[in-house]
Assembly symmetry: C2
Homo-oligomer: 473 residues x 2
C-alpha cells in the first residue's frame, strides 16, 4: 500500500478508534455472539482483488465490535484490568509504522536501547534496586517458562544441556502455592520437570498466602529423598484473590536450598508504583527473577510484560545463539535481547510503554491506581454491610471476592445460585464479573481498574449484583 | 488519555508515518548510531508529569529514526524481507485501538474466529489441504519449540509429564540439517532433549538440502543404540542459502520411525502462494506441523507467524489449562487458542493479516513476490557474467549468495576481503546486505524483497558492490 493511500485510510481509522472509545460504554460488556457467528459473517475464501478500506472499516463495526467482550468498557470487572490506554496505542502505532526489526542490536539499536531505558524507568517507578535488568516479553506465561528453563540449567550447572534432562539421575523439583496461576504448573511441565516433581504448597487461611513452613518441609523432604530443588515460584497477587506470598520468607528459605526464586506479579506488579502498597512486595529483592505486566492494570497495549533478572548471564547461558548472519562489530559491547528469551525477532515493544509513561506521566498513573484501590475498599465496605453478602477473601488491592449467601442456602444450591446471579449480571451487559473456584466453592471476583471506571460504574454494578442475586435466590 | 486528545495526536502521528514511509528511501539503510547513543539521548528517569505529544513526535525524529536499520527501505537486502505493509499496519492500529483481550473464546470471540478465518485463508492461498488448522504465534522460534515440546509428549505417550524427561530411560532424539536455523538447536535444548541427542544431518552439495540417506542412517543408528527418534525438523528455505530439504522423502523416512516432522518455512513459506514455486514444497502434506512467517516476505507487521498442525489435540494435550475463572458455557464447542501454545493472553493478531490480505488482495501480493523472484534471477545473471564474481549457492527464490574472488586471493585474505567489501557497502548507506558463513567461509547474501524494492534499487546495489569490492581488493 502506498503512503498516500495509507494516509487517507489511517485518518479515517483513528477517528473510528476515538469514536469507538467514546461509545464503548454504551455497548454490552460481554459479547453476545454465539460460536461460529463471527466466522460465518466472513467470506470463506481469501480476496483476490484489493478491497476498499471503507469495506474494512464497515466490517469492524458489523462483525468485530459485536464479537468482542469489551475490556476497555467502564463496566469491565472480569479477569483483570487490561487497559490499552490511548497513550500506549500511540506508541504502538509508531512501532507498526516504523516497521523496525529487532534481531540484534545492530538491526535496530533504538529498539534495544529504548527497551533498556523503559525497563529501567519502570524499575525505578517500582522502587526496585539497580541490580535488576529488564526485558519485555509477551506475557507472564513466557516469563515463568523462561525462568524455569534458566533454573533447570542453573541448578544442573548446565549439565542438563548435554544429555538433556534425560541424563539427570536426581530429579529436579519446583514449588509454587496451590493458588499459583495455571501458567506455573504448565511451565513446569513444558520445561520437563514432570508433574511428579511439582509441589503445590498449601496456602494459609484466610490470607491464602503460601505457607512457608509447608514450603520448607517440602524442600527438606525432597532433599532427603534425593531430589534437587530447582525453583520456587512465589506469587505477588494471585489471580483468584490477589493474595501475596511472603516474599522475604520464601526467598530466605529457598536460598538456603539453592533454588531459583521467580516472583510472578503479573497483575499486581503495577501496585509497586505506590509507596503505600510497596510493603506487600517486601523481600522481592531476594528473588532471582520477577515479572509483571504493564498490559494489565498499568495501561499498556497487550503483549507488554516486564521480566527482570539480576544476572542476565543466567539467561544468556541458556538462550544464546550466534548465527554468523547476525554478527556485527558491535557484539560484546551491546545487549542482544534475543539471548534473553525464546524469540529471535521482536517488534518495537518498548514504544508502547514509552508512549504510556511519557504521555500520561507517572503521577497521573498513580492517581488512577489509587482511585481503583479506593473504589475497591468502598465496594468492600458496602458488601460487608449488606445482608446475606460476604467478602470471602482479604481485599489486598483492587479485587473484591464476594458471595451472596441467602439464609438457608448451602451446598450445591449455593454453588448454583452463585453461578446463576453471576451469569445474570454478565447477560445484563452493564457489567462483567468473573466466577471462580475457591477451595472448591464458587465465588465472584469484582476486579476494579478499567481505565474509564469511576465509582458510579462500580455502584451501578453493585446494584445490579444485588438485583440479580435477589431475583435468582 | 481521553479519546479527543488521542484523535488529535493520532492524526499527526499517521501523517508522520506516511511521511516517514515516503522519505525512508533517502535515509541510510543501516543505522549509524554507536552503542549507548540512543539511551544517552533520553532522560535516565521516568517522567512524573505528562509530556506533550509534540515532544514525543519530535523524539521519534531526533532519536528513534536515526537509531533504526531501515528494513522498510528499498535498499534493504539484509537478513530477510521484513515488510510491514501499510495495509497490515492499518489492521494493527485497529487491534491496538480495540484493545481486545484474547484469554478465551468468550473474552473475544471475534479475535479467535478471525484468527481461524485468516489462518484458513492463508492455508488456501498456500495450496495446503483442509487437514491443516492454524494459529498465529509470535515467530518461528516459538513454533519450533512448541512442535518439539508436543513431539516430546507425543512420542512418550504423555508419560513424560509425570516424571518429566527425567523419568525417560531411552533418550529421545531430534534431527535437523546442518543448515537449519539456530532456533532449531535452541528449541531442542530448551525442550530438554540435550545436545547429545540432537543430530545435525549433513547437507548435499551444492544444493545444501538435508541428505536423506544420512538422515535414515542416523535414525537407524539411534534406534539400534536404544534411543527413540522424536522429531525431525525439515527446512523449506534455509536462512543461509534458501535451500529446501526434500520434504516428501524426509516425511517418508521419519514416519517409518514414528518421528514428528515439523517444517520450518519461516522465510520461504510466502512462495507457497505461487503455483509455479509450489513444487519446492512437495511432500509438505506428510508433515505433522509447519510454520511460516507472513511477517517476513508477505508483508504483515511483525510477530505474525503461522503455525499449522493436522491434529490440534497433540497441542491441547500438552498445553491446555482449565482455570475456573476462564470457564464459560461455550467451552467444548469453541477453539481455545491458549491451549495451542505457550501464552495465555494474546492481542488481536489476526487483524494484521486480515488488513494485509483484504487491502492488498492476493493477486497483487503474488505479483510483488514474482517481481522479487525476477529481480533475483536478473541479479544472478549479472553476477554470473561478471569477472571475479561467483554465485555460491543455487538461487531457489529471492536470495542470491555471492562472493568476489579476485585472481590470486584465497584463504584468510579472501575471508577478510569478503567481510571488508560487505561492510563498505553497508557503511555506504545505499544498501544493506548480510555476510554469512558457508562451510566456514564468508559469503554475502543479497536477500531481495523489501516492499518498495524495484529493479533500479537492485541495480544500484550491484554497482555499489562492484565498486566497493574493487576498492577493497
Amino acid at each position: 500500500m502506498e503512503p498516500e493511500e495509507f494516509r487517507q485510510a489511517a485518518h479515517a481509522l483513528v477517528d473510528w478508534v476515538a469514536d469507538f472509545r467514546l461509545r464503548v460504554g454504551e455497548l454490552p460488556v460481554r459479547s453476545r455472539v454465539v460460536p461460529g457467528e463471527v466466522a460465518s459473517a466472513l467470506p470463506a475464501a481469501p480476496p483476490e482483488a484489493p478491497e476498499d478500506f471503507t469495506a474494512f472499516l464497515a466490517d469492524l463495526d458489523r462483525v468485530i465490535v459485536p464479537g468482542i467482550t469489551h475490556v476497555q468498557h467502564p463496566g469491565h470487572f472480569a479477569w483483570f484490568p487490561a487497559n490499552a490506554s490511548l497513550a500506549s496505542v500511540l506508541g504502538d502505532i509508531a512501532a507498526a509504522g516504523l516497521g523496525a526489526l529487532g534481531l540484534s542490536w545492530q538491526s535496530a539499536p533504538a529498539l534495544t536501547e529504548l527497551e533498556q531505558v523503559v525497563c529501567d524507568w519502570a524499575r525505578q517507578l517500582c522502587g526496585l534496586s539497580d541490580r535488576w535488568q529488564g526485558t519485555i516479553t509477551d506475557g507472564a506465561s513466557t516469563a515463568t517458562l523462561v525462568a524455569l528453563l534458566a533454573a533447570r540449567e542453573k541448578v544442573t550447572g548446565g549439565s542438563g544441556r548435554a544429555g538433556g534432562l534425560q541424563a539427570e539421575d536426581r530429579p529436579l523439583t519446583v514449588y509454587c502455592s496451590a493458588d499459583a496461576h495455571s501458567s506455573v504448573p504448565k511451565a513446569a511441565l513444558l520445561a520437563g520437570y514432570g508433574s511428579d516433581n511439582l509441589r503445590l504448597v498449601p496456602v494459609t487461611r484466610p490470607g491464602r498466602a503460601m505457607d512457608v513452613q509447608a514450603l520448607e518441609a517440602a524442600l527438606a523432604a525432597d532433599v532427603a529423598g534425593g531430589r534437587r530443588p530447582a525453583a520456587v515460584v512465589a506469587t505477588a497477587g494471585t489471580t483468584a484473590t490477589t493474595a501475596f506470598d511472603p516474599l522475604a520468607e520464601v526467598c530466605e528459605v529457598a536460598s538456603r536450598y539453592g533454588a531459583w526464586v521467580h516472583v510472578d506479579a503479573a497483575m499486581a506488579g503495577s501496585a509497586m508504583l505506590l509507596p503505600e502498597q510497596r510493603p506487600l512486595f517486601e523481600g522481592i529483592e531476594g528473588a532471582w527473577s520477577l515479572c509483571w505486566n504493564p498490559h494489565k492494570w498499568l495501561g499498556s497495549v497487550l503483549e507488554t510484560s516486564l521480566f527482570y533478572v539480576k544476572h542476565p548471564e543466567d539467561l544468556v547461558n541458556v538462550m544464546a545463539t550466534d548465527p554468523s548472519y547476525l554478527r556485527s562489530a558491535r557484539d560484546g559491547s551491546v545487549v542482544q535481547y534475543r539471548d534473553w528469551g525464546l524469540p529471535l525477532g521482536r517488534r518495537f515493544r518498548a514504544l508502547r510503554l514509552w508512549g504510556l509513561l511519557r504521555l500520561e506521566g507517572a503521577e497521573a498513573i498513580r492517581a488512577r491506581l489509587r482511585r481503583d484501590l479506593a473504589n475497591a475498599r468502598r465496594l468492600e465496605g458496602l458488601v460487608r454491610e449488606a445482608a446475606d453478602w460476604e467478602v470471602v477473601a482479604p481485599v489486598s488491592l483492587q479485587t473484591v471476592c464476594v458471595r451472596h449467601v441467602p439464609a438457608g442456602l448451602a451446598g450445591p444450591a449455593l454453588e448454583q445460585h452463585t453461578q446463576a446471579w453471576c451469569e445474570a449480571v454478565n447477560l445484563s451487559g452493564v457489567g462483567h464479573v468473573t466466577a471462580a473456584l475457591l477451595d472448591g466453592s464458587w465465588m465472584v471476583r469484582v476486579s476494579i481498574g478499567a481505565e474509564p471506571t469511576q465509582w458510579e460504574h462500580v455502584e451501578r454494578l453493585w446494584r445490579r449484583m444485588q438485583e440479580e442475586a435477589a431475583r435468582e435466590a
